[in-house]
């Protein structure tokens, strides 16, 4: 196994860059951190280019070592690559394999219209995974799924469902062609309370930007716009909370 002892090593410097969106795009790969996350990547047969393990750390899971390039790193290198103060010392460089919309769209979908907060994106994808949705569409202006803060909130859920970066209007057209209702979340007068919409296994819900909500261009193209009735004095719900409530509502069916 190769051993790297210095943060000045060229390969380590390049791997470090894979935490930034611009280098992720340039090199087509991202850096994943954490034993649980890396184990999920291996189980999902994700395209792992390198597995980096800190000296003295034991892998708690099996790998088919012959297929994966393993690199041992010193704790100083691990601290350099890590995003957390107490790193567990396990990393993987994973090739970005952009997913495209599947032919059969049956199932539940969340469509994100310029969602900005990395924690919200990670939480929404993880919730969609837990509640058995088919996938999440990252529309224009949505934070990258390979942002380190998103990856931390995801806890490996990116390997469990479809995550597609695509224009929302294109996706809306495809969903409607397959008779899958698309619900926009909005405070507009024509939005109906979510309790009036029956649960269904085939649905798509558009969640908007934290400050501005779903854009008017999208709201004009939905099957129906919906709202979670506010009974108290708070003016709105957090985007990840609103998404979770709506996903739960539909998936009860």
């Amino acid at each position: 196994m190769k051993i790297i002892r210095s943060t000045q090593n060229d390969q380590i410097k390049q791997i470090h860059k894979l935490k930034q969106t611009k280098y992720q795009k340039k090199f087509g790969a991202y850096l994943l951190e954490g034993p649980h996350e890396v184990q999920e990547a291996i189980q999902a047969h994700a395209p792992i280019k390198h597995l980096l393990i800190t000296e003295g750390i034991q892998l708690s899971f099996a790998t088919e070592a012959t297929e994966i390039d393993m690199i041992q790193i010193e704790p100083s290198v691990s601290a350099y690559l890590s995003d957390t103060k107490a790193t567990q010392g396990i990393f993987a460089v994973i090739k970005i394999a952009e997913q495209t919309l599947p032919t059969d769209l049956a199932g539940g979908w969340i469509l994100l219209d310029a969602l900005q907060d990395p924690g919200n994106l990670g939480t929404i994808i993880r919730t969609a995974d837990a509640l058995g949705l088919k996938g999440v569409i990252l529309g224009e202006g949505t934070v990258s799924v390979y942002n380190p803060k998103v990856l931390r909130a995801l806890q490996g859920s990116q390997f469990h469902l479809q995550i597609v970066t695509q224009s929302l209007l294109t996706v809306l057209t495809a969903l409607k062609q397959q008779q899958i209702p698309v619900f926009g979340t909005a405070l507009t007068p024509n939005a109906v309370g979510i309790g009036q919409i029956p649960a269904t296994s085939n649905f798509a819900v558009v969640i908007g930007n934290e400050g501005n909500g779903v854009s008017d261009a999208i709201l004009a193209q939905t099957t129906q716009n919906i709202v979670i009735p506010i009974r108290g004095k708070a003016e709105s719900l957090n985007a990840a909370v609103a998404a979770a409530i709506i996903m739960y509502h539909f998936s009860q069916g």
Copy 2:
């Protein structure tokens, strides 16, 4: 109006300390930031000791200035007091008035067992406010509601519902005496799927620590333990998301 131009001013130094839990306890006050938050405090007749307004900033809401001690501060002082990079320059020092459990407990309650993450606490209280719950109980080991990160996520919801810091076992006893069912969230074998519990306007739900869940001592004293069925491959839900789904489930009735 008094004008303070220096971050070295003794009163400003003391106000700055009110961002830390130990000084909040010592002086019985906390620092609230943001025009929306301060407006909510004024509307709720919260015990405001001082209102701090940066030079050149106009208040977008009315105050009965004769009742509140107003202090004008320079932008450098505002930047020193702020928790954000782009402060809006409005602050209030508010006396901490610890709430006690009301006599009539009818309504919905969230009980928090050692919840650690400030963002989760703020989001849970804000969701409880939006969904019309009666209050949130902060049990032993739960992060302080006056933590600046909690206050930011709250967006003023602390002025809309009961927020009581108290031993959960004491609260459980009081709830059960009033025939209000207490549900623990747990992955234990005796937990039932939430879909099997009918919606009800009187309920209490215990949400646990992010890593360890609800303690066994509490789970043994609940009316019933419940679980949100996981249909996908994610191992768990974020605590604020789980709380939101359960609150929504019960408040549909």
